[in-house]
């Protein structure tokens, strides 16, 4: 039989729209009945450079404010060490096209764009982070980092988090400036939507140094978690030996958190701050079994190197929290299952998408794992985050409307 097609789409005539790009995600959410799941995305991003003229107005120092308005906040182009390779040469279409996406005048563009991906994926609450600012720590003008970070945090709290209860953030800490870190915790720790604070792990400061103890004490006292968000710096001496993005990203995004985690453990931070929750963000999961085995093995021979530890390093790691993306799941489900067991994933793993970045994971990467129970899936997709961040388990307006109509 021959049938005419009356409805079709020619891609050459289409404008970019996140909701179109994610139609299949919406279908996944429907098929898996996410309307019955509270889903928290613990690591997502926005592109703060698009709102940087607004952010610059929050910079206190008039000289820095003037320069920030002129220069903006963006990555550096093809010849720079922070060139924008994440879009994979135009293959990930949301990179070149996202900036042209049309949105209504209100609410803020960043809120609209966040909700446009959250709803198709079935995400109710998202913890959002910046993008270029993750490398702000590598700015050679270190004295200016604090001023930009402070402005960004004020802008985020005032313009985004205050306006939308689904959006949360662990605010950026300028780790070179411990006094400013403490000031930020005190100024923003009680603001709406602030669920913790975050260090980008490319900061070249050791996290066991004494000036940081007041930061950890303050966070512990407030019950707010500290996150270490992975990133890489292609100028770093060993990583500069790589010549392709896949190499620097595969190594760099794991290496920085391996370094921070190792320093954190052998200096006994879990014993010094036993109630401080730490979250290790965007390094994937495959690094964890390696580091657990490596550190345990050496610790048993050299306990005197880490005398504050009363248990094996892996015992402490199993009490920390890890975001799930990018979950290494190509062709070896057995390894993934062992990893989940080793890190106590059912209570310690937090689903994260990293959307809109290139290696994002949908909730189905957790939901479809055959070795998880229904309760495990609920925990990892939202329940664990609800507990860590003390969240209200509120379903999105779209989910609530569908449930009411059903």
């Amino acid at each position: 039989m021959t049938t005419d097609i009356h409805s079709f789409r020619d891609l050459a005539n289409e404008e970019f729209d996140t909701r179109t790009l994610l139609r299949n995600a919406a279908q996944q959410a429907k098929d898996r009945k996410y309307d019955d799941f509270f889903i928290v995305d613990t690591d997502s991003h926005h592109y703060e450079q698009e709102a940087f003229k607004e952010i610059a107005e929050f910079i206190e120092n008039p000289i820095l404010r003037h320069e920030a308005k002129l220069q903006g906040m963006s990555l550096g182009g093809i010849a720079s060490d922070n060139a924008l390779y994440q879009g994979n040469g135009g293959r990930i279409t949301r990179y070149p096209l996202r900036g042209k996406e049309k949105v209504p005048a209100t609410p803020h563009r960043d809120i609209t764009l966040m909700e446009r991906w959250m709803d198709p994926m079935g995400v109710d609450t998202a913890v959002m982070f910046p993008t270029p600012m993750l490398n702000l720590a590598s700015c050679p003008r270190r004295e200016e980092v604090s001023g930009i970070a402070l402005a960004y945090n004020r802008w985020l709290c005032d313009k985004i988090l205050a306006e939308n209860s689904r959006l949360k953030s662990m605010l950026y800490l300028p780790f070179y400036d411990p006094d400013m870190c403490l000031r930020m915790i005190e100024e923003f720790g009680d603001r709406k939507g602030v669920v913790g604070f975050m260090v980008t792990a490319t900061t070249y400061k050791s996290n066991f140094e004494n000036p940081y103890m007041k930061i950890y004490s303050s966070l512990q006292e407030r019950g707010l978690p500290l996150g270490f968000h992975a990133a890489f710096n292609w100028s770093e001496q060993s990583l500069s030996l790589t010549n392709r993005f896949i190499a620097v990203h595969s190594l760099g995004f794991s290496w920085c958190n391996m370094l921070y985690m190792t320093n954190w453990l052998v200096n006994g931070m879990p014993e010094r701050f036993p109630k401080l929750k730490t979250i290790w963000i965007e390094s994937g999961l495959a690094w964890l079994p390696f580091l657990m085995q490596r550190l345990d093995n050496e610790f048993m021979m050299r306990t005197s190197d880490a005398p504050l530890l009363k248990r094996k390093p892996s015992d402490y790691m199993r009490e920390m929290y890890f975001t799930s993306q990018p979950m290494e799941m190509v062709n070896n489900r057995k390894a993934l299952e062992v990893t989940f067991e080793m890190i106590n994933a059912r209570t310690q793993l937090l689903y994260s998408s990293d959307y809109p970045h290139w290696d994002m994971d949908l909730p189905s990467t957790i939901y479809d794992l055959p070795f998880l129970t229904e309760q495990d899936k609920r925990n990892i997709l939202g329940g664990n985050a609800q507990r860590v961040f003390n969240l209200e388990p509120s379903l999105s307006p779209a989910k609530q409307a569908r449930r009411t109509a059903a």
Partner: protein, 121 residues
């Protein structure tokens, strides 16, 4: 299996992609090099709309005598369908992933008859 009319010859520009919904599946039809190719618009990786991305040629590392690296070039004879979600790449010619042939886009037969292009689904 039914034949679904996709377009008249010349209606879909060279390099164009048309997405059509059939009872069997949503299908992407590519017009490239005078040929038509049809695949299910569904990436086997995480379910992305595989046919809604860009077409890119195979990237080639050019290696000279003695293993010397000479640079990179495109092989325009081997065009890839690139899923826009994560840039998984599939050969336009047969829908298989460029690294793992067990991973593939579902392919549909294209019939050209009397100035019209049909997909069999």
């Amino acid at each position: 299996m039914d034949e679904f009319l996709i377009c008249r010859e010349g209606e879909l520009a060279e390099g164009g992609v048309r997405i059509v919904q059939t009872p069997a599946a949503e299908i992407g039809v590519f017009h490239r090099g005078g040929q038509y190719f049809a695949y299910r618009n569904f990436c086997p990786h995480q379910g992305g709309p595989a046919c809604e991305g860009v077409l890119m040629p195979q990237v080639v590392d050019v290696i000279g005598e003695g293993g010397i690296y000479k640079g990179q070039t495109y092989d325009e004879r081997d065009m890839h369908i690139v899923c826009p979600w994560h840039s998984y790449e599939f050969h336009l010619s047969d829908g298989t992933h460029v690294c793992d042939k067990n991973l593939r886009l579902k392919k549909y037969e294209v019939v050209r008859r009397d100035g019209r292009v049909y997909v069999v689904a």
